[in-house]
Symmetry: C2
Subunit: 104 residues, 2 copies
DNA sequence: ATTGATGTTTGATGGTTGTCGAACTGTCGT
DNA sequence: ACGACAGTTCGACAACCATCAAACATCAAT
Protein backbone atom coordinates (compact mmCIF):
# COMPACT_ATOMS: atom_id res chain seq x y z
CA UNK A 1 0.00 0.00 0.00
CA UNK A 2 1.30 3.39 -0.97
CA UNK A 3 1.15 6.14 1.61
CA UNK A 4 2.54 8.88 -0.60
CA UNK A 5 1.06 10.36 -3.72
CA UNK A 6 2.72 8.62 -6.67
CA UNK A 7 5.44 11.00 -7.77
CA UNK A 8 6.55 10.70 -11.39
CA UNK A 9 9.86 9.09 -10.41
CA UNK A 10 12.94 10.78 -11.78
CA UNK A 11 15.05 9.07 -14.40
CA UNK A 12 18.61 8.31 -13.42
CA UNK A 13 19.67 11.03 -15.81
CA UNK A 14 17.42 13.66 -14.29
CA UNK A 15 18.48 12.65 -10.81
CA UNK A 16 22.06 13.49 -11.73
CA UNK A 17 21.09 16.77 -13.36
CA UNK A 18 19.14 17.89 -10.31
CA UNK A 19 21.99 16.98 -7.96
CA UNK A 20 24.44 18.92 -10.10
CA UNK A 21 22.09 21.87 -10.38
CA UNK A 22 21.67 22.09 -6.61
CA UNK A 23 25.40 21.84 -5.96
CA UNK A 24 26.30 25.37 -6.95
CA UNK A 25 25.51 27.96 -4.23
CA UNK A 26 24.68 30.64 -6.75
CA UNK A 27 22.20 28.39 -8.52
CA UNK A 28 20.69 27.37 -5.21
CA UNK A 29 20.29 31.04 -4.30
CA UNK A 30 18.57 31.73 -7.62
CA UNK A 31 16.23 28.84 -6.96
CA UNK A 32 15.42 30.21 -3.53
CA UNK A 33 14.64 33.66 -4.84
CA UNK A 34 12.36 32.28 -7.51
CA UNK A 35 10.72 30.04 -4.93
CA UNK A 36 10.04 32.96 -2.62
CA UNK A 37 7.23 34.10 -4.92
CA UNK A 38 4.80 32.51 -7.29
CA UNK A 39 6.88 33.65 -10.23
CA UNK A 40 10.04 35.62 -10.73
CA UNK A 41 11.27 37.64 -13.68
CA UNK A 42 14.71 37.21 -15.16
CA UNK A 43 15.12 40.94 -14.99
CA UNK A 44 14.58 40.93 -11.25
CA UNK A 45 17.21 38.22 -10.88
CA UNK A 46 19.68 40.25 -12.92
CA UNK A 47 19.18 43.21 -10.59
CA UNK A 48 19.28 41.14 -7.43
CA UNK A 49 22.40 39.11 -8.14
CA UNK A 50 25.84 40.61 -8.63
CA UNK A 51 26.68 38.65 -11.76
CA UNK A 52 26.40 39.34 -15.47
CA UNK A 53 23.29 38.64 -17.51
CA UNK A 54 25.20 35.93 -19.33
CA UNK A 55 25.91 34.11 -16.11
CA UNK A 56 22.29 34.31 -14.97
CA UNK A 57 21.18 32.96 -18.31
CA UNK A 58 23.65 30.11 -18.05
CA UNK A 59 22.47 29.10 -14.59
CA UNK A 60 18.82 29.29 -15.56
CA UNK A 61 19.52 27.03 -18.50
CA UNK A 62 20.92 24.43 -16.13
CA UNK A 63 17.98 24.71 -13.75
CA UNK A 64 15.53 24.31 -16.60
CA UNK A 65 17.52 21.41 -18.00
CA UNK A 66 17.26 19.68 -14.62
CA UNK A 67 13.51 20.26 -14.67
CA UNK A 68 13.60 22.31 -11.47
CA UNK A 69 12.35 25.44 -13.18
CA UNK A 70 9.73 26.17 -15.77
CA UNK A 71 10.22 29.24 -17.88
CA UNK A 72 7.63 31.29 -19.70
CA UNK A 73 8.01 34.18 -22.04
CA UNK A 74 5.85 37.27 -21.85
CA UNK A 75 6.69 39.92 -24.40
CA UNK A 76 10.23 41.00 -23.83
CA UNK A 77 10.32 39.50 -20.37
CA UNK A 78 10.93 35.99 -19.17
CA UNK A 79 9.39 34.51 -16.07
CA UNK A 80 10.44 31.55 -13.99
CA UNK A 81 8.58 29.27 -11.67
CA UNK A 82 9.81 26.53 -9.36
CA UNK A 83 8.58 23.02 -10.02
CA UNK A 84 8.27 21.75 -6.50
CA UNK A 85 7.06 18.32 -7.57
CA UNK A 86 10.42 17.71 -9.22
CA UNK A 87 12.26 18.83 -6.12
CA UNK A 88 10.03 16.58 -4.02
CA UNK A 89 10.65 13.68 -6.40
CA UNK A 90 14.36 14.26 -6.07
CA UNK A 91 14.36 14.18 -2.28
CA UNK A 92 12.13 11.11 -2.29
CA UNK A 93 14.46 9.29 -4.66
CA UNK A 94 17.46 10.41 -2.63
CA UNK A 95 16.05 8.93 0.58
CA UNK A 96 14.95 5.82 -1.24
CA UNK A 97 18.45 5.18 -2.56
CA UNK A 98 20.07 5.15 0.84
CA UNK A 99 17.45 3.14 2.65
CA UNK A 100 18.50 -0.28 3.80
CA UNK A 101 16.59 -3.14 2.29
CA UNK A 102 13.92 -4.38 4.64
CA UNK A 103 13.80 -1.18 6.64
CA UNK A 104 11.23 1.54 6.60
CA UNK B 1 2.34 22.97 15.57
CA UNK B 2 5.22 20.88 14.34
CA UNK B 3 4.37 17.62 12.66
CA UNK B 4 7.96 16.49 12.14
CA UNK B 5 10.55 15.55 14.72
CA UNK B 6 12.87 18.52 15.20
CA UNK B 7 15.89 17.76 13.08
CA UNK B 8 19.20 19.36 14.14
CA UNK B 9 19.06 21.90 11.29
CA UNK B 10 22.10 21.98 9.04
CA UNK B 11 24.38 24.99 9.04
CA UNK B 12 24.60 26.90 5.77
CA UNK B 13 28.11 25.58 5.40
CA UNK B 14 27.10 21.95 5.85
CA UNK B 15 24.19 22.42 3.49
CA UNK B 16 26.64 23.38 0.77
CA UNK B 17 28.98 20.53 1.57
CA UNK B 18 26.18 17.98 1.40
CA UNK B 19 24.92 19.35 -1.92
CA UNK B 20 28.42 19.20 -3.37
CA UNK B 21 28.99 15.72 -2.01
CA UNK B 22 25.80 14.42 -3.60
CA UNK B 23 26.55 16.03 -6.95
CA UNK B 24 29.16 13.55 -8.09
CA UNK B 25 27.67 10.29 -9.41
CA UNK B 26 30.55 8.21 -8.14
CA UNK B 27 30.16 9.61 -4.65
CA UNK B 28 26.44 9.03 -4.79
CA UNK B 29 27.05 5.42 -5.82
CA UNK B 30 29.44 4.94 -2.91
CA UNK B 31 26.84 6.34 -0.56
CA UNK B 32 24.24 3.95 -1.95
CA UNK B 33 26.48 0.93 -1.49
CA UNK B 34 27.27 1.86 2.08
CA UNK B 35 23.60 2.50 2.72
CA UNK B 36 22.63 -0.92 1.43
CA UNK B 37 23.95 -2.50 4.63
CA UNK B 38 24.37 -1.51 8.25
CA UNK B 39 28.07 -0.92 7.68
CA UNK B 40 30.46 -1.20 4.80
CA UNK B 41 34.19 -1.73 4.72
CA UNK B 42 36.52 0.45 2.68
CA UNK B 43 38.07 -2.71 1.33
CA UNK B 44 34.75 -3.86 -0.06
CA UNK B 45 34.31 -0.49 -1.76
CA UNK B 46 37.75 -0.76 -3.33
CA UNK B 47 36.86 -4.14 -4.77
CA UNK B 48 33.41 -3.08 -5.91
CA UNK B 49 34.34 0.15 -7.68
CA UNK B 50 36.63 0.38 -10.68
CA UNK B 51 38.72 3.24 -9.35
CA UNK B 52 41.98 3.45 -7.46
CA UNK B 53 42.25 3.30 -3.68
CA UNK B 54 43.35 6.90 -3.68
CA UNK B 55 40.18 8.00 -5.42
CA UNK B 56 37.97 6.05 -3.02
CA UNK B 57 39.79 7.60 -0.09
CA UNK B 58 39.32 11.06 -1.56
CA UNK B 59 35.59 10.59 -2.04
CA UNK B 60 35.10 9.17 1.42
CA UNK B 61 36.89 12.16 2.87
CA UNK B 62 34.36 14.43 1.18
CA UNK B 63 31.40 12.38 2.37
CA UNK B 64 32.69 12.42 5.93
CA UNK B 65 33.40 16.14 5.70
CA UNK B 66 29.80 16.70 4.67
CA UNK B 67 28.67 14.66 7.65
CA UNK B 68 26.90 12.10 5.50
CA UNK B 69 29.16 9.27 6.62
CA UNK B 70 30.63 8.19 9.89
CA UNK B 71 33.84 6.24 9.77
CA UNK B 72 35.24 3.85 12.32
CA UNK B 73 38.52 2.05 12.44
CA UNK B 74 38.81 -1.60 13.38
CA UNK B 75 42.33 -2.95 13.33
CA UNK B 76 43.59 -2.64 9.80
CA UNK B 77 40.15 -2.11 8.39
CA UNK B 78 37.96 0.94 8.15
CA UNK B 79 34.19 0.84 8.26
CA UNK B 80 31.64 3.34 7.08
CA UNK B 81 28.06 3.99 8.04
CA UNK B 82 25.48 6.33 6.53
CA UNK B 83 24.13 9.06 8.77
CA UNK B 84 20.55 9.14 7.59
CA UNK B 85 19.57 11.91 9.96
CA UNK B 86 21.93 14.25 8.13
CA UNK B 87 20.51 13.25 4.79
CA UNK B 88 17.01 13.79 6.14
CA UNK B 89 18.01 17.17 7.54
CA UNK B 90 19.37 18.12 4.13
CA UNK B 91 16.20 17.23 2.25
CA UNK B 92 14.11 19.00 4.90
CA UNK B 93 16.20 22.14 4.61
CA UNK B 94 16.09 21.91 0.82
CA UNK B 95 12.30 21.82 0.75
CA UNK B 96 12.10 24.54 3.36
CA UNK B 97 14.25 26.87 1.27
CA UNK B 98 12.04 26.73 -1.75
CA UNK B 99 8.73 26.94 0.00
CA UNK B 100 6.79 30.09 -0.60
CA UNK B 101 6.15 32.24 2.42
CA UNK B 102 2.65 31.71 3.70
CA UNK B 103 2.22 28.39 2.01
CA UNK B 104 2.31 24.93 3.46
C1' DA C 1 62.42 -6.86 12.18
C1' DT C 2 60.49 -8.11 7.55
C1' DT C 3 56.82 -8.79 4.81
C1' DG C 4 52.17 -8.10 3.20
C1' DA C 5 47.84 -5.87 3.24
C1' DT C 6 44.90 -1.61 4.14
C1' DG C 7 44.36 3.28 3.76
C1' DT C 8 46.16 8.10 3.18
C1' DT C 9 48.65 11.70 1.06
C1' DT C 10 50.85 13.96 -2.78
C1' DG C 11 51.92 15.64 -7.48
C1' DA C 12 50.42 15.66 -12.03
C1' DT C 13 46.91 15.74 -15.57
C1' DG C 14 42.81 16.26 -18.18
C1' DG C 15 38.16 17.59 -18.01
C1' DT C 16 34.46 20.38 -16.19
C1' DT C 17 32.46 24.70 -14.89
C1' DG C 18 31.48 29.54 -13.10
C1' DT C 19 32.38 33.92 -14.78
C1' DC C 20 33.03 37.88 -17.85
C1' DG C 21 32.67 40.83 -21.90
C1' DA C 22 31.13 41.26 -26.29
C1' DA C 23 28.52 40.08 -30.10
C1' DC C 24 24.02 38.68 -31.43
C1' DT C 25 18.72 38.13 -31.33
C1' DG C 26 14.26 39.61 -30.24
C1' DT C 27 10.69 42.89 -28.60
C1' DC C 28 8.62 47.17 -27.58
C1' DG C 29 8.02 52.40 -28.29
C1' DT C 30 8.64 56.28 -30.79
C1' DA D 1 13.34 52.36 -39.33
C1' DC D 2 15.62 53.40 -35.30
C1' DG D 3 17.05 53.17 -30.50
C1' DA D 4 16.53 51.17 -26.07
C1' DC D 5 15.94 47.37 -23.33
C1' DA D 6 15.77 42.06 -22.33
C1' DG D 7 17.99 37.65 -22.96
C1' DT D 8 21.03 34.35 -25.37
C1' DT D 9 25.21 32.70 -27.17
C1' DC D 10 30.17 32.58 -27.79
C1' DG D 11 35.18 32.63 -26.84
C1' DA D 12 38.37 32.92 -23.34
C1' DC D 13 40.14 32.30 -18.84
C1' DA D 14 40.75 30.78 -14.16
C1' DA D 15 39.42 27.77 -10.59
C1' DC D 16 37.98 23.54 -9.33
C1' DC D 17 37.78 18.49 -9.32
C1' DA D 18 37.91 13.42 -10.46
C1' DT D 19 41.39 10.43 -11.39
C1' DC D 20 45.84 7.91 -11.38
C1' DA D 21 50.32 6.31 -9.94
C1' DA D 22 53.50 6.33 -6.57
C1' DA D 23 55.22 7.28 -2.14
C1' DC D 24 54.05 7.04 2.61
C1' DA D 25 51.86 5.37 6.99
C1' DT D 26 49.69 1.82 9.82
C1' DC D 27 48.63 -2.50 11.38
C1' DA D 28 48.97 -7.71 11.70
C1' DA D 29 51.19 -11.89 11.46
C1' DT D 30 55.18 -14.53 10.75
Amino acid sequence: MKTQAPQPALSARQFELVAKALADPRRMALLESIGSEREYSCQKLCVEFPVSKGTISHHMKELVRAGLIESRREGQYRFYEVRREVLAAYTAELMRRVSKVGEL
